[in-house]
Amino acid sequence: MSSPYLPNTDTDRRAMLQDIGVSSAEELFQDVPEKFRHARFKLPPPLSELELKEELRQLSNRNANLDDYTCFLGAGSYRHFIPSIVEHITSRGEFYTAYTPYQAEVSQGTLQAVYEYQSLVCQLTGMEVSNAGMYDGSTAAAEAAIMACIIKKRNKVAVLTTVNPTYREVIDTYVKGRNLSLETVELNSSHLSSDCACLIVQQPNFFGCLEDMEAYAQKAHNIGALLIAIVDPISLGMFKPPGDYGADIAVADGQALGNPISFGGPALGIFACRKEYVRQMPGRIVGKTVDVEGKPGYVMTLVTREQYIRRERATSNICTSEALMALAAAVYLATLGKKGLKQVAELCYHKAHYAAEAIGKLKGYSIVFKQPFFKEFVVRCPIAPPQINQALFKERIIGGLDISHMIDNSMLLCVTEMNSKQEIDKLVKILGTYGED
């Protein structure tokens, strides 16, 4: 038995078995009923690192990756610029092979980085406190809904129809799990049941458009409910943050902040709220304090909220989250900084508008929504989007998300700072060939 990951030799094992007082390792499994102890497993025979690296490389080559293909697809997972420094830091073994920082004295790296992350999230969102991160934007929104119900002691959650449909489904699963109910609210509806604990909105919304957040805040607060805003963190480089328009809880997906798309995971659930609700906030929180010598240090705090203390009375069951992604987000925000994030947001905004204007002029195409938008917009196409996307794919372009089941023959296109003018022009040219008839 030899493996690079099994440092003990046969000699070591023999000595240890002797000290234990058994003649073979088999004896150590005596508590397992005999008939279960020798299960057979049909698994492929092992291969070496050298062989597997080649095999996996070939497997990865069977995927069209976004370094080789131009991407105009968003809808919750985004191709944004990741400065190289981010990965150099998250690849340090002291960060990525560490555990959750329960032993604070040897985890100050992780803890201080989380404190920075929490601070940066608050600066970005305009909210007062942030946690250390959750699974992704959708579960963060779901947990925010539950938190609102606990705070307000109400059993209903309201969600706008313009919120990302997959987020709405996740919120529904969580809400129904706790035997609470979900009310869907139409865009310009005046009706909001007074027994709702919260109103959940998205800015920009699923279709890329900016909505009147102050009006929603007022609507929610008028019935004593909380406003939960799902935001695009990159958009906050130029748009008004949730803290400024009256959100009580703000959530987002932090994949866009320095994390690769990675087929949808790992992502990062950003979660921030008003100070007064900190005791009901799920997830880990890091606080600053001092040690016995008066030196400043960081520690997980308000831990009585969490499952390992409160167990069935905890607000959430969350334990492991996405700490390394939060570290990446902190490094990203620190690296882009005050000017850089604004620049990235503006690049997205102007490039998306350039694309929308050009596409809007094409025969057979129209831009569905007239409201201000950020980096995504809905285009009605002359033929079914899947057909267009097949054609684009042949030209090494990944087109927008087909949302024909929501709006006839439409696709949701996304343009970021990663798309050059040439790429946008090429997209427009190819799209143009379908409107001619």
């Binding site: 390792a25 748009f239 900084g337």
Partner: protein
């Protein structure tokens, strides 16, 4: 410069951390002013200073790459480095979840095969890889239990039973599914007290979730009886698979009678812990529960695609799970094979029993029997001398060793739950044993050094009460202009 500052301290107007290209298209009209933000107060720091700052922070941290990390039920085994490299291949890291399925067949194949391997390893029928972490997998399993009983038209099943040794996530997850909790006591051997189970297992119970081996590191030889009793009375048996390292490649949950199991790729399957994630918590289920699983990958005429099982509980996360973590677990299983997995559990169990034998003369062993991959000691002998488990843990840090899990499971006084894993050498274990012996001696002869430990770490014991009473959870940067 070190780490004794924060980003606002090193921020100066005009510094930039990275370069960006200029706008290459005609700028559009900006949106109405009411939509725009007035100021964005983020730090301004050069890349040079940022690299030094975060490097300095990393040096304050202790990881598996630094040394021994015997946290019980966490399975802090070595994270193979080549896994990190393959996960970063563009064909894995730079693919979008909504791409045309024919353009990501490599990814779907990997997920499909991983699903099959995990089902085979656990003796189950089907797997969903969607749950994002262990607790998320627990939630998923319980939602499936709820759906199963509702589907049968059985509305009486309001309770989930958990053992008194259960991890906090178990009852917390049950409550998130609208269940009540019932507790099953453990007996003096550390096994399920069958009388207790008899008395609480009835037609109100939807399921018993039982970690195996238990959080005491013990395999309950009554498992067949337990499974029979639960099933006879209409309940399901679910496993928190956190302790799979104990019998990986040797025993199948399915054969023991479990209906579903939730796994932790970031424990048993070597993916790194990341300082608190990302993890991955797949759920494997038998035939009776497979229809309720979240989305999974199927293979149809050689083509891989996502499907949602017939009675799926629905969406529990935005996309398909932590793919970046799955790649590493897949690589691990492919590099070990069935025999390699068996060697993992064998070495893990030898290592834990070795620690048990060598330390039981120094620390009270509440259950003096063969343990599996972890052993639980009690610091109660030291407590009689005024030294608590927390002091022992903090003193271990002075030896450059990470302590075991402390004060869990709750049913052991002054608990020290110790899991060495198979990737530790006898030399490392002997160093730990020597340190623990010295600490036991200090508890007798020099307790003060334990009360005031740690002494040699970057920071000493922290005032946690102050952190709660005067919460300081962030710094603030205000705009200079708004005066």
């Amino acid at each position: 410069m070190g780490h004794h500052y924060l980003l606002p301290d090193i921020s100066q107007p005009g510094k930039i951390g990275c370069s960006l290209p200029p706008l290459d298209v005609t700028p559009a009209e900006l949106p109405p002013k009411e939509l725009l933000r007035q100021e964005l107060e983020l730090p301004e720091v050069s890349e040079v200073e940022l690299m030094r700052y975060f490097t300095a922070l990393s040096k304050l941290n202790y990881g598996v790459d630094t040394g021994f990390y015997p946290l019980g039920s966490c399975t802090m085994k070595y994270n193979p480095k080549w896994h990190e490299d393959v996960a970063k291949l563009p064909g894995f890291a730079s693919i979008h979840p909504y791409q045309l399925e024919e353009s990501v067949q490599g990814a779907l194949q990997l997920m499909f095969e991983l699903q099959e391997y995990l089902a085979e390893i656990t003796g189950m029928n089907a797997t969903s890889l969607v749950p994002i972490a262990g607790a998320h997998g627990e939630l998923t399993g319980l939602l499936m239990v709820k759906a199963y009983h509702q589907d049968r038209g059985d509305k009486a099943r309001r309770k989930i039973l958990v053992p008194d040794s259960a991890h906090g996530t178990n009852p917390a997850s049950a409550v998130m599914c609208g269940f009540e909790i019932g507790v099953v006591a453990s007996d003096n051997e550390g096994n399920v007290d069958m009388k207790s189970l008899e008395s609480v297992m009835n037609e109100e119970v939807a399921a018993l979730t039982l970690t195996m081996p238990t959080t005491l590191g013990l395999f309950d030889p009554q498992i067949v009886e337990i499974s029979q009793l639960v099933h006879e009375r209409g309940g399901l048996l679910g496993a928190d698979g956190a302790n799979l390292n104990a019998f990986l490649g040797r025993v199948k949950f399915g054969e023991l009678g479990y209906d579903y199991v939730q796994l932790n790729l970031h424990k048993t399957f070597s993916t790194p812990h990341g300082g608190g994630g990302p993890g991955s918590g797949p759920v494997c289920a038998k035939e009776n529960l497979s229809d309720f699983l979240p989305p999974l990958v199927t293979k149809n005429n050689g083509k891989y695609e996502f499907i949602s099982p017939a009675k799926s509980i629905g969406r529990i996360a935005n996309f398909y799970g932590n793919f970046g973590v799955m790649v590493k677990a897949y690589a691990y299983i492919r590099s070990l094979g069935a025999e390699g997995l068996r060697e993992v559990s064998e070495n893990a169990v030898i290592n834990a029993n070795y620690l048990k034998e060598k330390l039981k003369a120094y620390y009270y062993l509440p259950y003096d029997r063969t343990c599996m991959h972890e052993v639980v000691f009690s610091g109660k002998q030291q407590k009689a001398k005024g030294v608590h488990t927390i002091d022992i843990a903090k003193r271990l840090l002075d030896y450059g060793l990470h302590p075991p899990t402390v004060y869990f499971p709750l049913i052991v006084d002054e608990a020290m739950m110790t899991e060495p894993t198979e990737t530790e050498s006898k030399q490392t274990l002997d160093a730990y044993i020597d340190a623990m012996k010295e600490i036991a001696r200090d508890a007798d002869e020099n307790p003060e050094i334990l009360h005031t430990a740690p002494h040699n770490t970057p920071i000493r014991r922290l005032d946690e009460a102050r952190a709660v009473r005067n919460p300081d959870l962030r710094w603030e940067m205000r705009s200079q202009n708004l005066e």
